[in-house]
Symmetry: C2
Subunit: 601 residues, 2 copies
């Protein structure tokens, strides 16, 4: 049986020491985030995740969800009781706005919660997981009435929310949506169509489910410009918030999937269901992107999450399992074999996991701070800068974060040898569960195109230039400090590769946009390496100061320096080969005739 210990020490290190959250006390909501409160929230999240949610993780995988003939869906044993505890403890309201019943705490803490929940039980985390994004979309674009009616109950997790985008013929290309919304005399719309892959589309955790549905109104352009967003509640809501009649929306079936069995992935049938327009007609895409951006950050965290739990269990196994001898001679001559942790290749995989998970944790928490700053920073310039950097980092967190997270989960499974392939050890579930994160909320190929096709060009390249400047500043300051200089040099090499790749795109993408498309995936990975490298340099700086100051906890801080060195040694070289691949351009990628892909007989 796998186990999970929430990495509370590391989360506190990043939140308090690296990001210095207590130093932002001048921002609204941050004044209450004192060091003591931060500790107590992080510890509380950690306990809840490991003690309540994690024990249900294998149960959820084995049982899955059950759809009954009436279209209702039962979640796995224990999920409902755990969800009630989640709501009672107030976790769902942590970083939600106080005017709608939230606690108004920084998103930085809300994101820590999200990590711990996802790590303990990915499938469980998906039930409340999309609700925050749905609330954000309603708060940003809904009417006052909609905000008052839905937001407080969704924030309190009395009702959960869903995102309904995909249809059988329509995934990435939302212009292909066929679901129709016909205006009715009472101001509502009759929504008709089939949506697929709807996570948490139906379940028994809450009395109501608030579906946010993309559909086309009559006469709207038959493209992504014609899409509108609708609230379609499972149970109609009376003006006083009490529940009325059942709406004409039903779960038609549950998908059989590779993993995340504990989450109900539904085909949803809308049969003239009553819906209400959110925001303006035909402006659904921008409202949807509010949800989507929140969801993408959450998925990036899921990439880290499954890597983290896989890492923890691989470490325990590597310390316990004895096989062979250290290459330098027996490490434990009293036993017949050494723990496999002595083997360099096992350590390589574990160090790789550690360098990724801790770097990713710093990166998503920085992104969380940017979310807060984009809303609450004192000046419009600061808010805009935060928003710009967040936009740039979102596809990297989602795309690079989940590619590498899956990789790490696979490597951690490898540490177990044959036992990694056996269900009871739990490692193969982590691999199966983590696989979805590379796919949903925009495949990682889409993330790469979002980064290279949209975000790089954003505001004339101001975002990427600001990112480069941040890295340059960090490198320059670290070079002045003795133990950090080689780390800074390494990051500078990676950054140089990214700058060169950026320049290559500028020079070659206009002539042929395929040059951008054929290199976008690689560019996203270079930027992932540079972003994690920036985090490692910051963490190394804090760790180095703490060691000099003799604050104690030397094992922890020394490990940061060692892992930073590992990162620079073993992650940075890839930035060079990725750049060289980009610079080969699109020719060999695009040259093959279509028929030549088929198998010749």
């Amino acid at each position: 049986m796998p186990s999970y210990t929430a990495p509370t020490r590391d989360a506190k290190f990043i939140v308090k020491e690296v990001l210095d959250l207590p130093g932002y006390g001048n921002l609204p909501g941050f004044e209450s985030a004192t060091p003591d409160l931060i500790d107590s929230v992080i510890d509380g999240c950690g306990r809840f995740a490991s003690e309540v949610l994690h024990p249900l993780n294998q149960v959820g995988d084995r049982e899955g969800c059950t759809r009954h003939p009436d279209g209702s869906v039962t979640t796995p044993t224990g999920f409902k009781a755990a969800f009630d505890q989640y709501v009672e403890a107030g976790w769902s309201t942590l970083s939600q706005p106080t005017e709608f019943g939230g606690q108004g705490m920084p998103h930085v803490l809300g994101f820590v919660l999200e990590e711990f929940v996802s790590t303990a039980n990915h499938s469980f985390g998906m039930y409340p997981g999309l609700t925050n994004g749905a609330v954000s979309a309603i708060l940003a674009t809904g009417s006052d009435e909609q905000k008052a009616l839905y937001a407080p109950r969704m924030i309190a997790s009395e009702w959960l929310g869903t995102m309904n985008l995909t249809e059988p013929q329509c995934g990435t290309d939302l212009g292909l949506i066929r679901t129709r919304a016909e205006p009715q005399a009472d101001g509502s719309y009759a929504v008709t169509g089939t949506k697929i892959f709807i996570s948490a589309g139906e379940h028994d955790l809450t009395d109501n489910i608030v579906h946010l549905v993309l559909a086309k109104t009559p006469g709207a352009p038959d493209s992504s410009k014609g899409i509108s967003l609708f609230i379609v509640p499972k149970i109609l809501v009376n003006p006083d918030g009490s529940l009325g009649e059942r709406n004409a929306v039903q779960c038609g079936s549950l998908e059989h999937k590779m993993g995340i069995h504990g989450n109900a992935t539904c085909v949803m049938n809308y049969d003239g269901a009553k819906g209400w327009l959110v925001g303006e007609e035909m402006k659904g895409l921008s409202a949807m992107f509010i949800m989507m951006n929140a969801a993408r950050l959450g998925v990036g965290i899921q990439g880290l999450a499954q890597a983290e739990i896989a890492y923890q269990n691989a470490v325990a196994y590597a310390r316990d399992r004895r096989q062979g001898r250290a290459l330098t001679g027996p490490a434990d001559p009293s036993a017949k074999a050494d723990p496999i942790l002595v083997h360099p290749d096992v350590r390589r995989m574990l160090m790789d996991a550690k360098a990724y998970t801790e770097g990713m944790r710093a990166l998503y928490l920085w992104a969380a701070l940017l979310v807060d700053l984009s809303h609450k920073a004192a000046t419009p310039e600061e808010r805009e800068e935060a928003d710009m950097l967040l936009g740039l980092l979102t596809p990297v967190l989602k795309g690079y974060g989940t590619d590498k997270g899956f990789d790490v989960a696979v490597n951690m499974q490898q540490v177990f040898g044959g036992h990694g392939y056996i269900a009871e050890w739990g490692m193969e579930q982590f691999v199966r569960d983590s696989r979805i994160a590379m796919i949903y909320e925009g495949t990682n190929g889409i993330q790469a195109m979002d980064l290279c096709g949209r975000k790089l060009a954003m505001k004339g390249g101001a975002g990427i230039q600001r990112f480069f400047a941040l890295c340059d500043e960090e490198i320059a300051s670290a070079r002045a400090q003795d133990p950090l200089a080689p780390l800074a040099d390494a990051l500078d090499r990676a950054l140089g590769e990214q700058k060169a790749a950026t320049m290559w795109f500028m020079q070659n993408a206009m002539a042929n946009p395929n040059n951008l498309g054929a290199g976008a995936h690689h560019y996203m990975h270079i930027m992932g390496i540079v972003s994690l490298g920036l985090m490692w340099l910051r963490m190394a700086k804090v760790a180095s100061s703490a060691l000099s100051a003799g604050d104690g906890d030397d094992t922890f801080y020394q490990a940061k320096l060692t892992t930073a060195r590992y990162f620079m040694d073993r992650f940075v070289p890839d930035a060079g080969s990725l750049r060289r691949k980009i610079e080969t351009g699109a020719e060999a990628v695009m040259a093959l005739e279509e028929d030549a892909f088929a198998t010749a007989v």
Copy 2:
């Protein structure tokens, strides 16, 4: 539902045009391998695999195997009938020695069969898959009586064979084996112990199963030097070959696994089972390695196999699924969206798959030719050289081949977007099935150590020097031919990285063997890139000549040149970053204190 078309054209291209098998007519058994016969064997294998075995692939995954209370095991619906067809058609005897009832054809053809069978149905292929290796071990080290009694029936697939190495406490480190073999008065041994992860340990395909079991005799050293190999048949065999009593060996349970559900992975309980020593006492390890080396080549082919079928289905999907528009403008303005094959990132993944699968096919078929040459070449020098190269390539085929094969299967799943995660499309099965190949028959970390710790040093480095010389010759000859020169230059760069990494090991592994261990995985991947690059250069040369000669089939040959270029553009750069990782040495890999791996709270 996924489909499978055996890549017969490509197999014929490699066997006849690249390896020139008909040119080896002077070798025993090869004289009958005329071009027509080669075609007919390859076509026959292909038909059998795609028409008989592939339709059972999803069935096997869904049903799995069933163990009954008496310890007997039923394979999935259709497996027994398909196996009977396999035997009747004579496939099992294809490349087995004629003196024991085989057809004596080149292993090159036997390996083509193995690829097609594994691709069509990985789990099915594992039932007969280990028998060849078991036969080889018996033929190499068994008594004349054992050879006569077991080999013909195993070659005819009347009985199948298994390999019993692993025990709960003992995987890689065979010195930890606890299974004991006590000599009996009649010359047999009583074998007692528990073996785990025994593929095809029990099933209903054949009347008998011949287990080859590693065990320790009384007084033997408690290390790998004390291991002996035993034949332990499920049903005792009378001297005339007829079946006698049930032996005291039973399947105790079936493992629940991530994939290969159609194969029975058994816990085998030996309870004083009657066994017979194969070869000399305490020389079991070398006999075992005869089986193991054959098995490792087979596993390398499995890595290719799942990548191949995943590729074929991804191509079909990418041509059919319409989503978005080409970056260069609508490719099919008559429709609302273009096939996703127009998107550079989709093409990148497909080209990557094509470059890997076709390169791997050439590599394993070259290895198969080396198997043949190591037994049948005219002079001892030629046989020794073939054996040496084969020893060097085996861990690369197994380790690099399955790492990259899994990667490709994952990418092909990615082409399907959300549908790739849904069971009915079949892509996720390919990923789950292919994952085992990185683990069994020695994890890929063990392959890397076999390559770097044993094979590089073999005969004073003669093997690797011969490999380098082969590459140098191929590069020099290609540089003289105009369209091949840039490909040769690229391969030369990769080769240069491998030579440098080899040199670095020579200079740094003596001082600290961990420098070797910490870089072995990366070295194996460099050599994988160089080996596939060598194959691509050879294939490009043949394709280029065919195009010049105007032999027709231009689409096929032109695709070889384009894919060779893709390989050089997109695979070769990694050799450089892998080398740089190796050259950072073991320090950051080994520096962390053991406690610092654990999660701090």
